[in-house]
């Protein structure tokens, strides 16, 4: 679950991290009043769950309350990447001496939260890590023991920051790591974390994302932020494909399917899943030079109709000529049922399964029965002796025409 900036600032504030004297409103007149209260120059920022605000004119500077009101009126009318503004955040224009970055993310490999700190704030941490790796400090945080200032110190020192700055930064970074744990975040980021001319530090922008499954447990926090119990919060409006897959899933209780295509623009449709298999296989396709048209998850022993529905939705996406049907080894999802579903999808769309399904690699329950079906329709299929990466390579080779069909 992603939070608006004004909510993320409130989360940071509740954790005891200093923030500016900002205000949030959906009314231009009130934006002027907030600017008057703040005094001096202000920044008016559109509150949308998407990036690119600055480029789109969603961030403007004002020297007077009247100017702040006028900018707020313009920004409230502005649509950014298809998102209407929830409101505007009115922020003092701080006198910044230096910008830092502080973030906590989940490190899936170490299975621990990871503090990231840099003395080069205000730009993407990925860019800093690539271009100035010596300016990024890292420290893992234990999941069983309480977060200690030591972990924050380790990350700060790793970026080469010492002395008075370090002493002032330690409680801020430590509190950020604590809120990451207590508020069930998957990402907690302050960027920029500004050192002001007077030597104090303040969070100028924050980005928070909460684990979706934790929403029930965090209901009190969400209510305190003014988020209704039934509010759906996605980073983007669902695409036609995503809505179609959700509807298919909701209509049939058997098994589960999910589909995402926001940010995917490739030509290879993916019908994938099983125990982390979706992520592994999407990465595998990309690592061998393929371009996925979507992400999906299929599992929990879906019906033929559900597997068919997902495959049809993928095949009906613009630019998709072939699909790769691949999973890790499955225990409860039946290979033969998925095979029936994807073949049926091809036939109902007037496509030849042998041509359309580039590879079928699902080893597991009822695989012998599944392979009989696949043989019948001439679909290339693999058992567990072929790895997921090898199967992905074969699918990509086929779609790129670098191997015999």
């Amino acid at each position: 679950m992603r939070f608006y900036e004004y909510e993320a600032r409130e989360i940071v504030k509740r954790a005891g991290i200093p923030v500016t004297d900002y205000g949030f409103t959906a009314d231009a007149g009130e934006a002027g009043q907030i600017a008057e209260r703040i005094g001096g120059s202000t920044v008016i920022k559109s509150q949308v769950l998407t990036g690119g605000r600055m480029k789109a004119g969603g961030v403007k500077f004002a020297d007077t309350p009247g100017e702040a009101e006028a900018h707020a009126a313009d920004i409230l009318k502005l649509e950014i990447n298809g998102h209407a503004a929830r409101g505007v955040l009115v922020d003092p224009r701080a006198q910044v001496k230096q910008e830092y970055y502080a973030g906590v993310v989940w490190d899936g490999t170490a299975k621990k939260p990871l503090i990231l700190f840099s003395d080069m704030g205000g730009i993407d941490i990925e860019q800093v890590a690539e271009e100035h790796p010596d300016h990024v400090g890292r420290a893992h945080v234990p999941t069983l023991l309480p977060v200690s200032d030591f972990h924050a110190k380790q990350a700060i020192a790793g970026a080469g920051v010492t002395g008075r700055q370090m002493q002032r930064l330690i409680p801020i970074v430590s509190r950020l790591a604590q809120l990451f744990q207590t508020d069930d975040m998957t990402l907690a980021e302050i960027n920029p974390l500004a050192e002001l001319e007077d030597g104090s530090f303040v969070a100028l922008d924050a980005h928070m994302e909460m684990e979706k499954e934790a929403e029930g447990r965090q209901r009190e926090l969400l209510r305190a932020l003014g988020i209704a119990d039934d509010e759906e919060r996605d980073g983007h409006e669902p695409s036609t494909f995503e809505s179609a897959v959700s509807a298919i899933d909701a209509a049939d209780h058997r098994g589960v399917i999910q589909g995402k295509d926001t940010g995917f623009h490739g030509d290879l449709g993916l019908v994938i899943g099983a125990g982390g298999g979706s992520l592994t296989l999407t990465d595998a396709v990309q690592s061998v030079g393929g371009s996925p048209a979507n992400y999906s998850e299929i599992g929990g022993n879906p019906s033929v109709a559900k597997a068919c529905g997902l495959a049809k939705a993928v095949l009906q996406k613009d630019g998709v000529e072939k699909i790769a049907v691949m999973m890790s080894i499955v225990s409860n999802t039946r290979v033969d049922i998925v095979a029936r579903g994807v073949i049926k999808a091809c036939i109902e769309l007037g496509k030849d399964p042998a041509e359309t399904i580039s590879v079928f690699r699902i080893p597991g329950a009822w695989e012998e029965e599944g392979f009989k079906i696949l043989r019948r329709y001439g679909v290339e299929h693999f058992d567990r002796s072929v790895s997921m990466h090898e199967a992905a390579q074969r699918a990509v080779d086929k779609i790129q025409g670098t191997t015999a069909p």
Partner: protein
Amino acid sequence: MRTDALFIGIEIDDEAAKDTALAAKLEEVCPVDIYAQAADGTAQIVAVNVDECVLCRLCLDASPDGAVRVLKLYEDGAEL
């Protein structure tokens, strides 16, 4: 009566289909609703569900020998 879908074919002997007790039993045991009991009590095959057959044999176990046949069309009509 016989209904063939893409992968699975179902055949109920015409005389057996008139057996209302068998029709009720088939409707009860099939986990994917391939069988239904018509208003007159006879057995019917729900065509849209035939390919959902999970090859569980419950219909075969619930009926007298030869009354119901489940055919795997992808295996040249091999009988379950």
